[in-house]
């Protein structure tokens, strides 16, 4: 539940443009909020007549706001769901998708945990409750404490589908019920930092240097790959995804200018600075 407002530069010197300031409301995924905020600040510095307010709250919140027509741009860390499209259309809203960056999910453990690499299958078995002791995956004799984001987080849904269920839509494996559901990324990082029993996951851009990331193999026998910008771009890292912004109908006017700018190389540099992966970087 992060709520941050990007304030524009002081515009007292240009009262004329103040009256015709253009506002963009931008809300949604907590994964994207820092990135959206950085973009908004840079863009407002270059375009003093535009005001962009950025709020987090989760992908679901952003979508709900888009459907209720209270935001111009909804940030999402997953694709829009069919129910959300239906609800939007019932409300006269036509959501249009824009891929604005890529993100990788890092699986993190306490730095003293000797486990360095896991297969997707092993991580799935840990989170489904099949493995309950670190010994079963080559670690110390310690209980495993599973940490996850809340169910309403896009990261949770993505992790469920890609890792726990191994990308198989027929697979109905659940998170073990004793998985801790923490309301924020900070909660997961705080717990992993002090608890050697814990395993958690979080966006690559949010993992601090003092935590250990696990190298992941897609299948038994595949190489173990650490998450990084190159491994996400060459698709060798298994848990990576696209990040989206949704608008009501094709973007027009000031919103279109903003979205076009986001895809420019200047804006995509900020993506890399924040630990995400720029879109189009693979074509460069």
């Amino acid at each position: 539940m992060i709520s941050l407002i990007a304030c524009g530069p002081d515009s007292s010197s240009e009262t004329a443009s103040d009256s015709q300031a253009k506002y963009i409301e931008n809300k949604g995924s907590d994964t994207i909020v820092n990135l959206a905020l950085a973009w908004a600040e840079r863009y407002q510095a270059e375009h003093p007549d535009v005001r962009i307010s950025v709020t987090g709250g989760g992908t679901g919140t952003g979508m709900a706001s888009l459907i209720n027509k209270t935001v111009d741009i909804a940030n999402a860390s997953r694709k829009i769901k069919q129910e959300e499209i239906d609800a939007a259309q019932a409300n006269g809203v036509n959501p249009v998708e824009h891929i604005i960056a890529r993100d990788a999910i890092a699986v993190i453990v306490h730095p003293e945990n000797p486990v360095n690499e896991l297969t997707l299958q092993q991580i799935s078995d840990i989170y489904s409750g099949k493995f309950n002791n670190w010994q079963e995956v080559g670690g110390e004799d310690r209980p495993i404490v599973r940490l996850s984001r809340e169910t309403n987080s896009g990261t949770h849904v993505y992790f469920l589908e890609t890792v726990v269920r191994l990308g198989d839509s027929e697979n109905k494996t659940f998170f073990s019920t004793d998985t801790l559901l923490l309301p924020s990324s900070e909660g997961i990082i705080a717990e992993v930092r002090q608890n050697p029993n814990a395993i958690g996951y979080d966006g690559l851009g949010y993992v601090p240097d003092d935590l250990k990331m696990i190298a992941i193999a897609k299948e038994d026998g595949d190489p173990y790959v650490l998450p990084s910008i190159p491994t996400v771009n060459d698709k060798s890292y298994a848990i990576a995804r696209d990040l989206y912004m949704y608008t009501n109908g094709e973007a027009t006017g000031v919103i279109k200018e903003y979205l076009d700018w986001i895809l420019s190389s200047a804006a995509q540099e900020i993506v890399a600075e924040l630990g995400f992966v720029p879109v189009g970087a693979s074509n460069d």
């Binding site: 989760g58 919140t61 709900a64 004793d178």
Partner: protein, 298 residues
């Protein structure tokens, strides 16, 4: 003169009566609203799946038993902390402490009551939960116990200030009577003052329990929010998910009018009914004991 006095008296009486009744009106309206939003649950979710053990709303598993048990165990733990500490503190402040200690202690306790619960949550995440994990050798420090201790801390000021007022209003003659009969200080407190203040002390406990069961932010931060059925006393040492934390964490994201939305309101109804039950139980105890006392006196 006489007439205008009557007239203003009439207005004041009416105003006071209206504000008194308005409390009933507001409670009734809130409950009606909860019912209106919560009752559709019964049409959308089977009773058997509503009272089952899995809470995973994004795939339509709406078993609320883990949430109810989670709230109850955290509240139970909090009461075990808040009741003895709260009443003990109240007794100390009102009966034992010298005047100057009392003058420092009372405002300090009230200040504690004003601490925002999110600040206590921070303390819980950064200090209490790591400490409990190491001290009790638990897999994780984010447990029902951590929530209970913090909620106990939140409820203590409520219990203290209400119980202290009740003890304070016991006539001095009661204590002097006991002392004159040769009772020790402890006997006076335990056998005379506390029973005389019983209804106020019970109210204090109820308000404290009510504060604990309704508290949201702190429990959401420190109890781990895992929807596990908590039936044994050992569940106190594992993560739980409470009803309040569930509503707070999920309400912001839920589509208006969906099944999940109705179930969240249904949980609100359950929460409301539980605290109503606690209050009715408490007031019936107070009422009955009063009648017995009146019988003895007459």
């Amino acid at each position: 003169m006489e007439k205008s006095l009557n007239w203003s008296e009439f207005i004041i009486t009416r105003a006071i009566r209206t504000s008194g009744y308005s409390a009933i009106l507001f409670v009734a309206l809130i409950f009606l609203f909860l019912i209106r939003e919560g009752l559709p649950t019964f049409g959308e979710v089977d009773l058997s799946s509503l009272f089952s053990f899995r809470w995973y709303p994004i795939e339509d598993y709406f078993g609320i038993l883990p949430l109810i048990s989670g709230s109850l165990i955290v509240t139970l733990g909090a009461s075990l902390v808040a009741v003895p500490f709260g009443i003990g503190t109240a007794v100390f402040i009102s009966e034992i402490a010298p005047r100057w200690v009392r003058e420092i202690l009372k405002p300090l306790v009230e200040l504690l009551g004003g601490l925002p619960s999110v600040v206590l949550g921070f303390l819980g995440i950064l200090v209490l939960s790591p400490f409990l994990r190491v001290f009790l050798d638990l897999p994780t420090g984010l447990t029902a116990l951590t929530g209970s201790l913090l909620l106990g801390g939140i409820a203590v000021p409520t219990v203290v200030s209400v119980a202290e007022d009740a003890l304070d209003s016991v006539p001095r003659a009661y204590r002097e009577g006991a002392w004159a009969l040769g009772a020790t200080r402890w006997q006076t407190i335990w056998r005379v003052t506390l029973p005389a203040a019983r209804s106020g002390v019970l109210t204090a406990i109820m308000l404290g329990v009510g504060r604990a069961i309704g508290e949201t932010m702190t429990v959401m931060m420190v109890t781990g929010n895992a929807p596990v059925l908590a039936l044994k006393l050992s569940s106190l040492f594992s993560p739980v998910r409470t009803m309040t934390a569930t509503i707070a964490a999920e309400m912001g994201e839920v589509a208006n009018g969906s099944t999940h939305y109705h179930v969240l309101f249904f949980i609100g109804m359950v929460l409301f009914l539980i605290s109503l039950g606690v209050n009715i139980a408490a007031s019936s105890v107070v009422f009955r004991s009063k009648k017995r006392a009146e019988r003895i006196l007459s």
